[in-house]
């Protein structure tokens, strides 16, 4: 489903060029549950932004199915993010002036779905995630775990093929983290392709496959390998 080859990301800092991501090459198949593990500042988020078409690589190839993303226009990338990719962020990134349901409706609104239809789907999703009592709450009226569940509902709104989560439990306590990870577990079982970014090995153990990032170098590791290093 995802194929990257010699993916590189560099920033021009004054005269010097700073490379954040070095020649990353890997594939992710449909339905996989992958954890991207590595210390803070190693380039995990940068990688996720590229995979989520929020950023373009400096060089290298990124294929989404059989589509070379470097050939896509800004409009097509927006469409891809809208229909095929769902994002979950560490700080939830809910829109503060919108209720839980309105937040979940947003991606469907951008997809041009009818009001009644998207309202129904938003309510169904929130109910599935145990938030049927919180439909009309604003984000600041919700706990961290509830916010993250709203964010997950929003990411799932347009039935994406790929779910990207950047430190989804980073702002949560361990019990709530566990609840959220259970949700990801279930999503994986229902066939969604999952990529979770984390620097926390307890989170990483939920995944079936692990990519290790260090100083911008991405490498495939077994769980045992990562676990031992820890």
């Amino acid at each position: 489903m995802i194929r990257v080859k010699n993916l590189q990301k560099s920033y021009q800092m004054g005269k010097e060029s700073l490379t954040i991501l070095h020649q990353a090459t890997f594939t992710i198949r449909q339905g996989e549950f992958v954890a991207v593990v590595g210390p803070s500042g190693s380039g995990k988020s940068t990688l996720m932004h590229i995979l989520g078409c929020l950023d373009r690589p400096t060089s290298g190839e990124y294929w989404f199915h059989d589509q070379d993303t470097s050939q896509l226009t800004g409009y097509e990338l927006a469409q891809l993010r809208n229909r095929k990719i769902g994002f979950v962020f560490q700080n939830f990134h809910l829109l503060p002036r919108m209720t839980a349901r309105q937040n979940v409706e947003l991606p469907m609104m951008y997809a041009g779905m009818k009001r009644a239809e998207r309202r129904k789907r938003a309510e169904d999703l929130l109910e599935t995630l145990g938030l049927s009592e919180r439909l009309h709450h604003l984000p600041n009226e919700l706990s961290g775990g509830q916010k993250q569940r709203v964010a997950i509902a929003r990411a799932l709104a347009n039935r994406p093929e790929l779910l990207l989560a950047d430190e989804p439990t980073g702002a949560l306590d361990s019990t709530t983290s566990h609840e959220i990870l259970e949700i990801f577990q279930e999503l994986h079982q229902s066939g969604v392709t999952l990529l979770i970014i984390t620097h926390d090995y307890r989170v990483a153990q939920y995944a079936k496959r692990h990519l290790f990032v260090e100083d911008g170098f991405v490498s495939e590791r077994t769980w045992e390998d990562i676990h031992e290093r820890n």
């Binding site: 932004h49 078409c53 929020l54 409009y75 927006a78 993010r81």
Partner: protein, 402 residues
């Protein structure tokens, strides 16, 4: 996103910063309000003149006045200021003329009991022009018989009745003008707030011209009033009579119909309105420009403040054009609301002007709609740069923005 969704979202975001939004609207508000008010007042003045003109046409009457009254200034040597008896005879000879009478105007002391006031006197035939927009609310108008037999009767305007008697029901009372006692047979009131009635019909006494001539023999006829047979074209006949009178006076510019006189006033009002429009228009224009710049500034602030929101929306699939429209709708919502409030306030001002100064006003709905659309256009123009700026953000940079 469709227009309804964009409108709702723009409205919510306006409401979220209510005070800031209202302050931003101020320039547009002031600009639009002044435009609405000035146009209503100018148009009202012109309408008053036009309706008086139309009224005369309906009544099949012609008024002719010496041109000196039309174009006030220093009279030329030999300038004709009033009518001679021969002038009346000339007019009487025309086919289609029913009756020729005169109207005299002047100011004089009028007393009733101990009260006395300096009032306008107007002596005329029973088809008195000055009463065009008046109705007799008490008693009756004097008749042609009263005119022919020099009856000592008079009508008072409402204001005159109040001034002299302190009340309005004064039919049967008497008053004294120039030593002559007159019986009050009626009271008149303005039927519409009209600029001309305001000028001509303040505190006034109306009486048969024959009676007024008797009281003040040296007052000269300042207006010739001609009643025209039904079916005869008033403009054509009046042109022919004026030409004949001018030939008699050996001057191409001695006389003029009062339609011309009214058109003169209309022109004058037009000139005054134009000057006012220019001045207030300049003020309004500056207010609108300053308002527009303010809107642009606030939108730039808003885009910066909401950089992360823009990033989130992009991550959810918002296209560049969706972002552009979102911010365009917000700035248009700001300016259109400002415009709408400006229209409401402008109309309020015209209502106050009408009530306080008895000045005719006519709010133009075309101008109102135009002003509304124009204020929305300001939002579109001034919101364009901030909106484009927002849409050009890279999703990742917007998301990472703190």
């Amino acid at each position: 996103m469709n227009a309804t969704e964009l409108l709702t979202s723009a409205f919510l975001s306006m409401r979220a910063h209510l005070l800031r939004s209202l302050l931003t609207m101020l320039g547009i508000f002031i600009g639009v309000a002044s435009i609405i008010a000035i146009v209503a007042i100018g148009k009202g003045g012109q309408n008053a003149v036009v309706s008086t003109l139309e009224n005369n046409q309906l009544r099949q009457t012609i008024e002719i006045v010496p041109r000196e009254l039309v174009v006030p200034g220093i009279p030329q040597p030999g300038q004709i200021l009033s009518f001679s008896n021969e002038d009346f005879d000339i007019a009487r000879q025309f086919q289609g003329v029913l009756q020729v009478a005169e109207t005299l105007y002047g100011q004089a002391a009028v007393s009733a009991g101990r009260q006395s006031a300096n009032l306008m006197l107007e002596g005329g035939p029973d088809y008195l022009n000055g009463l065009a927009n008046f109705s007799v609310i008490q008693g009756r108008m004097f008749t042609n018989g009263d005119v022919l037999t020099h009856q000592n009767v008079a009508l008072l305007s409402q204001q005159a009745a109040l001034q002299l008697f302190g009340r309005e029901n004064v039919v049967g009372q008497s008053l004294v003008v120039g030593g002559q006692t007159l019986q009050v047979i009626g009271v008149t009131a303005s039927t519409e707030p009209s600029l001309l009635n305001g000028i001509l019909g303040g505190g006034a006494v109306y009486l048969p011209y024959t009676t007024l001539e008797g009281i003040f023999p040296n007052w000269t006829a300042s207006e010739m009033d001609i009643a025209v047979q039904p079916g005869v074209s008033v403009p054509e006949l009046s042109q022919r009579i004026v030409t004949a009178l001018n030939i008699h006076a050996h001057s191409a510019e001695a006389f003029e119909t009062s339609a011309g006189f009214l058109q003169g006033i209309e022109k004058l009002i037009g000139t005054i309105t134009n000057i006012l429009t220019l001045v207030i228009g300049a003020v309004a224009g500056i207010a609108l420009v300053v308002g527009g710049v303010g809107v642009m500034n606030i939108m730039l602030v808003s885009v910066t403040e909401r950089t992360q929101e823009i990033g989130i929306r992009m991550s959810l699939g918002a296209t560049k054009s969706a972002i552009v429209w979102q911010f365009l709708f917000e700035s248009m919502m700001l300016t259109a609301t400002g415009g709408l409030l400006g229209i409401v306030f402008g109309v309020l001002v015209t209502i106050i002007v009408r009530a306080a100064f008895h000045f005719p006003v006519a709010v133009s709905w075309q101008v109102s709609i135009g002003a509304f659309l124009f204020s929305a256009l300001i939002g579109l123009v001034c919101g364009l740069y901030p909106a484009l700026k927002a849409s050009r953000l890279l999703p990742v940079d917007a998301l990472r923005y703190e």
